[in-house]
């Protein structure tokens, strides 16, 4: 029991909080919506953390998969009345194919070049979605027809339904992360992250492992896109394929929370999403002030703790260990 608490203390604490949160916020739809948004972004950031944190594949184009998921499920629902639950799977599969192709094409690129190429991929999709009005609705975007309380159509009358689905999605993404980060694949991925040539010479098929990571990351990211679209009911190409609103945001959450760690993206999302909301509500009178405050707090957080919020957890452990001895 003691070992379980020591090894998974933070994860257990997060799980307990996540389960208790809806009970405490039953009367506040607004708070539930913020918590749900934080869960969706935590899941999306965990997807980014799969490739960016585990294999150092720093992507600035994860919005591409997010958008593929949102557009696939929404278009299937609007035009063919296919349930978004099936759209979720279809979007995931389509994004997996896109991620596999992108991974093969970009396999020789590293570092900044890889980041820029992924950014370009998301930008291409944004331009295509804006231009192909007959299918995507163009810059006007897509609105999901409201059906009221219809769980089969992925619609719920209270935010709690979305909350539990988002929590389930985060659990799925975190489980995939945990499976890959531990055991033999964990050793191999850490080796790739730390020295790819040495890893390859030591017998690790770096191409195949990165391909597998990217496919999983893309597919799960698309599922996050579907849940996000169903939750907010409306999106357009500029918001769903957004560089700052999605791609950079999910990367920032992992980096601020703790890159390559399981709780990192969760801590990052639950720090950044409420922070963004608070700065918007407190400084909404002056145009741009909210964004400035948000940016300053982000810079301060990175300067104070460059290794992320997870490092604070590590310091707490060391402090407690020191106090016991």
């Amino acid at each position: 029991m003691k070992t379980l608490l020591r090894r998974h203390g933070l994860a257990l604490l997060c799980a307990a909080l996540a389960i208790c949160l809806p009970l405490c916020m039953e009367d506040s739809d607004y708070a539930m919506r913020i918590a749900t948004m934080a869960l969706i972004f935590a899941a999306a950031s965990q997807c980014w953390n799969l490739s960016g944190g585990l294999a150092n594949q720093i992507s600035l184009g994860h919005a591409a998969f997010f958008g593929i998921g949102a557009y696939t499920s929404t278009l299937l629902y609007i035009h063919l009345e296919v349930s978004p639950w099936l759209g979720l799977v279809a979007g995931g599969m389509l994004a997996a194919v896109a991620a596999a192709m992108l991974s093969v094409i970009l396999s020789r690129l590293k570092g900044h070049y890889y980041a820029l190429a992924t950014l370009a991929f998301a930008e291409v999709l944004r331009v295509v979605a804006n231009s192909w009005s007959s299918v995507t609705g163009g810059p006007i975007g897509l609105t999901i027809p409201f059906k009221g309380d219809a769980p089969l159509a992925f619609q719920f009358s209270s935010p709690a339904g979305y909350y539990w689905i988002s929590l389930g999605l985060l659990a799925l993404c975190s489980l995939v992360f945990h499976r890959l980060a531990s055991g033999a694949s964990g050793y191999r991925l850490r080796a790739i992250r730390e020295n790819e040539v040495a890893a390859e010479v030591s017998g690790i098929d770096t191409f195949r492992l990165k391909l597998r990571l990217n496919v999983l990351s893309g597919a799960l990211m698309a599922m996050c896109g579907t849940v996000y679209a169903q939750f907010i009911y409306f999106f357009d190409p500029d918001s769903i394929f957004s560089l700052s609103g999605i791609s950079v945001k999910v990367a920032m959450m992992s980096i601020i929370g703790g890159l390559g760690t399981l709780p990192g993206p969760i801590l990052g999302a639950f720090f950044l999403v409420p922070l963004e909301e608070l700065s918007t509500s407190f400084f909404s009178d002056t145009a741009g002030l909210a964004q400035c405050v948000f940016g300053i707090v982000l810079i301060a957080a990175i300067l104070i703790q460059p290794r992320g919020l997870m490092a604070v957890w590590g310091l707490r452990h060391r402090f407690m260990k020191g106090a016991r001895t």
């Binding site: 033999a184 050793y187 730390e194 020295n195 040495a198 390859e200 030591s202």
Partner: protein, 245 residues
Amino acid sequence: MTEPLLSVHELDVRFGGLAALSGVGFHMRAGEILGIVGPNGAGKTTLFNALVGVQRPTAGSILFQGRGISGLKPHVIARLGMTKTFQNSALFPEMSVLENVCTAALLHHRLAAAKKKAYGILERLELFDIAGEDVANLTFPQKALTELARAMATDPKILLLDEVMAALSHEEMDGVIAVIRRLREDDGIGFIVIEHHMRAILSLCDRLLVLSFGQVIAEGDPGEVVRHPDVIKAYLGDSAGAGHA
């Protein structure tokens, strides 16, 4: 006569207009220790990179156990039985000594067996006591031996050591030489060794190959090769080579 374990024929590596290797050829038998020397920029590390698949050759062939391996990926060549250590330590910096070795042992084993194998190798190389140590805290000789241990974990038939004895004292160098000899005798591993320390090369190698400007200028018994006029010229310049001849 037995077939050579490794045969290199007319190997060329070009970087644009620069010929890093040109028409390099040699053979190596199982369990042999082959030394490679040459001035800086002679193409020694490029040759290693071409042998293990890090650098794709422009022309020529590499036969390992009778099979053409030119152009194969490094992890495939490692699986076949040839890997290398790096000129500048390329250990995985945020892993412990055990984890570094275990990662390579996963090539042929599942995790539990890989850990067991890694412990065994560390014990043989007298690194068992520092198994849990982060590699960032290691001394030069410990880093060199850990690189050797990691490469050993892939079960190589030929191991390429790129200046593994650089920055070591004479005593430390003797220790590494003893380890290499023991591994050859116990496991039958062949070694190709790039080294600048002539003392180490002369005491360790069965045969010596000298590279200069990407070409083989001498090959044979180490004692004879180091007295070859072309080798002296490559190291000390034209007047020294002519004077010696």
